[in-house]
Each structure stands twice: as C-alpha cells, then as structure tokens.
Amino acid sequence: MSLWKIAWRSIQQRKLSSLLTGLSIALGVALVVIVLVIHGVVSASFSEAAQGYHLILGAKGGKLQLTLNTVFHLSQPIENVPYSFFKEFTEYQDKSGNLVRGKYASAVEAAIPYCLGDSYKDFRVVGTTPDLFEKLSYGAYPDGTPKHYQFAQGSNFDMRDFNAAVIGAVAARQAGLKLGDHFPITHGIADENAKVHDEDLFHVVGILAPTGTPNDRAVFVNMEGFYLIGDHAKPLSKQEDSIDGVLRTHLEQLQSVHHHLQRAVRDKDVPATAAAEIQEADRLIDEILRETKPQPTSSLDAAKKTAGEETEHDAVEHSSSDQQPPRVAAGKQTPLPENQREVTAVLLLLKNDVFSQVLYNKINEGNVAQAVFPSREVANLFEGIVGHVRMILLVLAVLVVVVAGVGVMVSIYNSMNDRRREIGIMRALGAARSTVMTIVLMESVLLALLGGMAGVILGHVTIGLFAPFVTATTGVMIHFWQPAPAIHFAGTYISPEVILIPALLVLATIVGFLPALIAYRTDVARALSDAP
C-alpha cells in the first residue's frame, strides 16, 4: 500500500471536514483563476486593440483621453484637428487634379481618420474610411502573423456610398442590426436628450467578425456621410460667408421645392416621373452653385451649395434609389467642403518603425496636434491604474487561498489528537518518524491539489457562465477553457494558471508542516497506551 493511499484514506475518514477544507481551497483558487483569466484576457485584448498602427494623432490635450476615446471608444473626445492637418499624412489631388504628397506622406503607410462624437444606441459611431479594415490589423497571432479584420457578413464599405456603415460584432448583435438595415445616429454620446439625426440614415453593408477588441462595440460609418449630417460641418468665417442675397433667396426657394419633391417621392405621393424632374432641379441647383459661394443653411445644403469648389470628391450617382436612405434617394451626394471638415483623430501606420519617434517628436513640438503611442498609453494605463486594481484583486484572492490553506492546517491539526493512536500503530508496525510525517504532508498536499483542481474547474465554469456578460460589457471574447494569458516567468512565458498548482503545493507543504511535525514527534508508547 502506498503512502498516498494511506493519506487518502485518512482524508476519506474525515469526509465532512475534508470536503469543507477542500471547498474553501477550491473557492480561493477559483477566485484567483477568475481574476487572472478575466483581467489577463481583457488586458491582452486591450493591448491588441492598441496594436496594428504606430501613432494616434489628435487635438492637444490628455494623451490618455485621446487613447481612450480613439482605441477604446471610452471617455469624451477632445477637440478636433483641421482636415488640412490630416492631409499632411496622405496623398491627394489638388484642384487642378495633380497628385500632391502631404508633408509626412512619404513616411506613412496608412493614415486613417477618425471622426467621433456621435453614437447609435449605446455604441460609439466612428466616421472613417475603408482603409481602417483594409490597411490596419488588430493584434497578432502567437507566430507574429497580424490579425486582419474579417467580415462575418457583407463587406467593407465603399467611399462612394456615403451612407454605408460597418458594424462591430457585439454592436450588431446587441443593437439587432443586420445587413441592409437603416439606422439613424445620435449627436453626442450616451445622452438621452441628444439630438437624433432622423433624416441621416445609414445602412449596414458589413458586419465585422469578432475581434475581441473594443472595435466589436463600435459602429463605423463612411466619413463622407458622417460629415453630411446636420451640425457636423464646421461653421465658416465671415469672409467665407459672403453671398449674393438675391441668388441666395432664390436658391433657398428652389431647395425648399426640391426638399418637398424628395419627400413626395419617398412617400410615393407623386408618379415616378417626378424623379426626373428632381434630377433636373438638382442640375439647376448645381449650376447656381457653380456661380456662387453661398453659406449653407444646413450641412446637406452646404454640400449642395459648394459642390463646385471641390475637385477631389466626386459626387456619386446611386444605382438603386429605392434602397438608398431617403436623403439621397433622388440624386447625387456632394461631399462636405474641406474647409468645413475636421477630424477627431488620425491613426498612423508608418512604413518603418523608426519614423514613429521622429514623427512623435515633430508633431508634439507643433501647435496643431499631439501624437501618442497607443501601446505606451495602454501599458501606462494598465500599469498605473488597472494594474493596481488587478494587484489588489490578486492579493485578495491569494489571501483567500492562504486562509483556505490555514484551514487545511487547522483541519489536519485538529485531527491529530484523534489520529495519535493511528500514528502510534503505524509506528509500531515499523513506520519511521519521517514516514508518518510524510503521510501527513501528503494529506495536506492531496487536499490542496484536489481543492485546487476543483477550483480551476470551478473558476473556468464561472468564467464560462459570465463570459457573455464580459463580452457584452467589454467586447472581449472569453471562452470557457481559455487560460490566463502567459506572463514572463523564470525566463519563459507561461500562463499563471500553470504556476498556480505548484504554488498551491508549496503552500500545502508549508501549512501541513505543523501537523506533520506533531506526527513526527508522536510518542509511540504513549500513543499506543491511549484508549482506542
């Protein structure tokens, strides 16, 4: 018979006490596992969210705030930066149609604009370009291969489709958005009284596959459509506001008629031939616009009025008017003039890592914007704030395990009085002092091991039960058996869960030492003389 079996039988003999002791260990270990896995997965996920590009550019202000509202879709956006600043990182056509390379474009692989400030239900709306999903990645696989955005349904949006939207996996599920659905967006974030842009409907062309990043909880719309929403155009200066009064009056009247016609077509109150008449009205408006620089009365109007100024944005004829949002059903869309555009942030993917520090310094030395390293900000965030919270949670969880370990000691210690005779018998049968000591230590180890394994299972079951909630609140996907992400330990990367059980065994050995010592010191003659 092995010593393990003797130890196990001793545990069996004290079923209730052993069960309760094991349970306390299991609860403590489960708590540690939950903290390690959830925090680890969320941390890794958030770190991944900040990968795939080098820098975030935005208005001067808090670096963390810029990172939070750009990467994590949290906090309030800072001020905007001029569109001309964004262009410095891109190649574009000037009014003559010549290709112009922005000041920093040669160093840039991709510059992705972010226009923030609106929301749909509980989800942030990001006005951006399709490059976000084509040129940027999120995180990387263990072998270093970058993770590219995948579409669970539909596809990426086309810049020519101003009202197209791509929805994050969680946002789509929770908001109940499907391909082809139309939805309005709300000016402002998480404000019940915020203005809803009922007239500015976007339609879903793609739903992202889950990424496990905060982008799962975001709604991405075509930046051009975003700009055309009421109140999104930057007000022009007085100089820009000069306009021929007569022409303006006429134009406003014409626009009013145009608006009513559009509504009539939408409501099917007029024959289909009216669409041709509306197109004619559009043409007339465009002609007037070419001759003037009127101040728009709304963002849509602004687009119509100033179309002639813009050369790099081509208006698009929609292929199927009955599938388009009402606002554009009858005709062309014209982009918002550049002088009325702003961007909240720019994600920069550089051609070479070495450019990042140079650009970082250059931009921060200027007065227009600031640059932040998102990965650095995320690391600071986790080390500075979240890391401490995790540490507190971990310390508490470890304390629970230690208390449970002390419970093991108390349980075995209390049993020692009853077991003196057993120890005496084993000693009389030839067991050495060290042997009975080992048996008691094994008992402690068995209790800790079984309790610990039960705790790991319990922890993962709990994680499995709460995974939907974690996913819903953070956008992070957690699976039932997902181990805590690897940490650097003893020169290698290893999941802290793997360390947990050996650590528990060390604890069991320590707490088992006192009762084991009592077993060691048991006087055989006296133990045998005790009444059975």
């Binding site: 003797i6 050495a432 006087d523």
Partner: protein
C-alpha cells in the same frame, strides 16, 4: 533468537526521581520457541514487549534478536528492524478503521523495504479464516475476526519474533482458543519465536514454556498499585 541481558528501565517522575519498572538480568527465547509470560497488571509486561520491539529503549542492557543488538541501532534502524523482523499483536487489535481487512494486512508490509505482497496478505487472511472478509472494514468485523486480522498483519512480513500483548483479553472464550491456536500453529509452521504476555493463567497450559514476569523481573512494584510507564500510562 531473542536474548535480553541486564535490562533496566525506569520511569522519571516529574520531580526528577526515578521509578524503576524493569530490571531483568537475563531472558532468552529460542527460535521457534513458544512461551508465555505471566504477570499481573502493572508488572511491566507491555514495557518489556515494547523494549523487545524497539519501540522503547531500555536505560541499559542488551536486546539481541537474531544476533543483532537493537539497542545499538538508531531509531530509524530500529523502526526498519521492527517492520521486517518483529510481529506485534496488540490487546486492542489496533486495526486502522479506514482500511479494509486486506489493507490492514498490507499496511504491515508498507514500511518494509520489500514492500507489499497482496497475494501473501490474501493467503494470510484465508489462513485465519477470513478469506471472505477481505474488503470488510474493522467496524464490520466481529471482535474475534478483528483479532484474527491483527494476527495476519503481524505475520505479514514473516517475522523472526512475534510479540502478543494479551491477545485474548478482549475476546470471548470461544474466540480466545481460536486466537491461541492460530498464533501457535502459524508460529510453529514458520518457526517464529512467540512471546505472549498475559495476566491470566487460563491459556498457559498450552504453551511449552511459561515464565512468570515476577520471577524474572527484579523490580518489586509498590503495594499501592500499578507503576507508571515511561510515557505516563499505566502498565499492563
């Protein structure tokens, strides 16, 4: 096989004074010999067996078993020697309640270098008439059956010396004879030296040799009652 010479054992009282328990100038048991040692309660019978088994050390003297003076061995050495050469049957059986009959016998083999032998354990239990009770725990066995398991356990390692401390004290008359027969037969078959201590004369007539502890122990117990053991309990 067994030789004791000039054995002295005293109990140190709380005030530091010594209370002699045993003083045996000479004591021999030959290989295969079966002897019974009779002594009244408190005469030091259990203490003597514990000294022979190496559980207790005498204050002085020689305890030679199969030519080896076990008083010269370390505690661990005496433990190992006891596991491999000594069988011990207790008055109160001392079976471990968490283990089955078979496991209790196997336990006797656990602490030897040769390790366990399930076949021999089963054979021993069959030999004591408990082949059908292998998996039963002590609480499911009668008192007589429990003592038979204890005998099987004591024989598990083919000991040179079998020490039986009043093995029939807690069993009824019918079982008493069975236990005595079992001890005598198995010791005779395996040529084991049997030393049984008892406080009654009932079974002595069946043994080749009967010694009276009062005759070999030169310590005279006090008139007032039993002398304490070195551990503080009473002698039996």
């Amino acid at each position: 096989m067994l030789r004791l010479q000039n054995i002295r054992k005293a109990y140190v009282e709380p005030d530091g004074s010594q209370l002699p328990i045993l003083e045996i100038p000479e004591f021999h048991v030959a290989a295969g010999e079966q002897m019974v040692l009779v002594g009244r309660s408190g005469s030091g019978k259990t203490t003597l067996l514990q000294i022979i088994a190496g559980i207790s050390r005498p204050d002085s003297g020689l305890v030679q078993i199969a030519g080896l003076d076990i008083t010269q061995l370390s505690e661990a050495g005496r433990d190992r020697f006891r596991a491999e050469r000594i069988g011990y049957v207790f008055q109160t059986f001392n079976l471990l309640p968490a283990f089955s009959a078979l496991e209790n016998v196997l336990l006797g083999m656990t602490f030897t270098r040769t390790g366990r032998d399930a076949t021999r354990s089963e054979d021993l239990l069959k030999r004591v008439g408990l082949g059908h009770r292998l998996t039963h725990r002590p609480t499911a066995l009668s008192v007589g059956e429990q003592q038979r398991v204890a005998v099987a356990r004591a024989l598990a390692n083919s000991p040179k010396v079998l020490l039986a401390d009043e093995p029939t004290a807690n069993v009824d008359t019918a079982n008493q004879q069975q236990i005595i027969d079992l001890l005598r037969e198995t010791c005779a078959e395996e040529k084991i030296a049997l030393v049984m201590v008892t406080h009654t004369q009932e079974v002595t007539s069946q043994f080749d040799r009967v010694d009276r502890l009062a005759e070999i122990n030169q310590v005279r117990p006090s008139v007032t009652g039993t002398a304490p053991t070195e551990a503080g309990g009473s002698l039996s």
